[in-house]
Amino acid sequence: MILVSPLIDLKSKASQKLQQIGLPTVAHEDWKYVADQDFEVIKSVSHAVQDYKPCSLILETEYVVVLGKSGIDQGRSRLPKNGVTVEFGDSEVNQNALSGLTQSDDGMVLKAISEMTGVLRILVNPQISLDQPIHIAFDESFLNEQWIQPVVIIELGEKATASVVVHPIMVAGGVVNGLVVVSVADHAQGEIVALNLEGRSAQFVSMSYRATLAESSQFQFLQASHHAGKVRSDVQVTFTAPHANSVLRAVLVLDDQDAVHLRTHMTHLVGECFGRQLVKSILNGQSVSEFHGGVYVAKGADLTDSSQSNENLLLSDQARAISRPQLQIHADDVKAAHGANVGQLDDRHIFYLMSRGIPRAQAEQFLLQSFILEALDSISMPGVKSALKKRLMISGEIGE
């Protein structure tokens, strides 16, 4: 008997569409991005692979899903027991969650679907509130892969609450192309922290997040980038029912050759939803940050309140900040705004701190930390929050 994967149909549809549009390139996508054949293979394993210890961010009491090439490593995982399903496979339920994406206009998403070997699915039953976050960590089995394409589905039932931390995948020269699909049911609350750390040993790290929000649901997302390498993050939220609320944040602390292209997009299909996109970058070395924000308000989606803000501190003449906060408004009773600025630390602020006895270097450090603190403080998970603070705020002066 031949076992036919229930996902085969899905995969072929995605594959067909991928054939049509190909991987994103400069030609049809404004944000710069290279094609498949341009990825060179780096043979040597960068020191960064050893540097990053995902477990340092995970508290003893928190849940962990350790994912390897062939599925969940049950021995090293700590899975929540009641009301939560964590499974890896290609079951039919995933078909519904992913079928809409087979017509995606994004080649990376299509590639991930058409070449997936399985889906990690986390289902939080209705009414269940997880008191601890779930960490999704990836084991060493991916290290020498060329293309690492995990597909994760996170479903929150009605009135469920959960926080998920997506850890980076350690690779030596390969390309990461992850896809995380989130659905948040009525009155549910979801939070994702995407750790975009130590990616310099990868050729390229692409992570796509697609969240769909039902009535009165909430979705918070935060990406922290540090020693990020070449990164493309694409976070899209769709509001399908009123009174939903979503805040997308990113803190990019970049140096050397780090280049992060961050797209955040909110689609307001219905009115009366609240959206915020808040992106802060600190740029040193020859790093580049490109923010491509979008707000789309469909016809009739009145009483939408959606805005974007992108602030960049450029600390090096070799660094570069690109900002594209875009609005597309098809309804007339809407509050939509965007702001972007690029600059340096304010001399008046530095002087004020110095006039209170704080040495210049410390004053500058303090102002930089304060710049990103607000975003980090929004994280609800204490372990991740303090670990990120420690990592991104070198002097620790500001802490608790």
């Binding site: 304010d346 110095m354 209170r356 006895g357 704080i358 303090f366």
Partner: protein, 254 residues
């Protein structure tokens, strides 16, 4: 405490102080008065080390050392404190963290151990109660969205924490209602000591009703044109500044 000799200073090539001399002894309160644009605020900013101003000649000795050789932060740690007329707003920077950092910078300078956030919180509570400063202000960003009065009280709170030797109050009365003015003035008066000096920069006599100066100087056109005791304040209130600014040539001659 501080001795200023023949100080000339300019900003963007425009000369502001033109040979100002002034001596403040420990424990003394000096008032600097004068019409708008006379250089009063410039004097304060130069003593605090504002980078926009350039001292072209003259000297400032503070506590036996050369003040002009020091950066703004060094001056602050050595005991120069300026309460700004317009304290800058710094969005995103937590006020309490900022105060502790400043307090610890001073402690470190004195060779004392730094205080942890918990100890500091207790210290702050005590001081802010004295100033009737709402606790909410400590959790907010530095001066961000503060009312005029809140900003000034935040300045005085910093003064009390840092225990400076020389306090410069730049138009501290502006933006204060009468109750707030009284609270600020009481804090300053309580803060007076034989080894601490004050330079009170003000346009009006209002603040000087509460903080009584030992010496009053009138600054006009970049230099001191008249010096007297606190009775001079009354006279200025009645006669204005014109009779003194008109008197510049004879002063120069003398």
């Amino acid at each position: 405490m501080v001795s200023i000799q023949e100080l000339y200073a300019e900003i963007e090539g425009k000369s502001i102080l033109k040979g100002l001399s002034l001596d403040v002894k420990p424990g003394e309160v000096h008032a600097i008065m004068g019409p708008n644009g006379s250089g009063k605020s410039t004097l304060g900013k130069i003593l605090a080390g504002h980078p926009d101003y350039e001292v072209t000649s003259g000297s400032v000795t503070f506590d036996g050392g050369n003040l002009l050789d020091m950066d703004a932060d060094e001056r602050a740690r050595n005991g120069v404190f300026m309460a700004f007329q317009y304290p800058v707003e710094i969005p995103g920077v937590n006020n309490a963290s900022f105060l502790r950092m400043s307090y610890n910078a001073k402690r470190k300078h004195l060779g004392l151990p730094e205080v942890d956030p918990f100890e500091f919180e207790l210290l702050l509570q005590k001081q802010s109660k004295l100033l009737k400063l709402g606790e909410g202000l400590l959790d907010r960003s530095v001066n961000d969205g503060f009312s005029g009065g809140e900003k000034k009280r935040n300045e005085i709170l910093q003064m009390m924490l840092l225990e400076p030797k020389l306090v410069i109050l730049d138009e501290t009365d502006s933006g204060l209602d009468i109750d707030a003015l009284r609270i600020v003035a009481e804090s300053v008066n309580r803060f007076k000591s034989p080894d601490r000096s004050f330079l009170v920069i003000t346009h009006y006599q209002r603040l000087l009703d509460y903080i009584v100066p030992d010496v009053v100087h009138v600054l006009a056109n970049g230099k001191i044109v008249k010096t007297g005791d606190h009775l001079l304040v009354r006279e200025l209130e009645e006669r204005g500044y014109d009779w003194l600014t008109g008197a510049i040539p004879s002063e120069v001659g003398g």
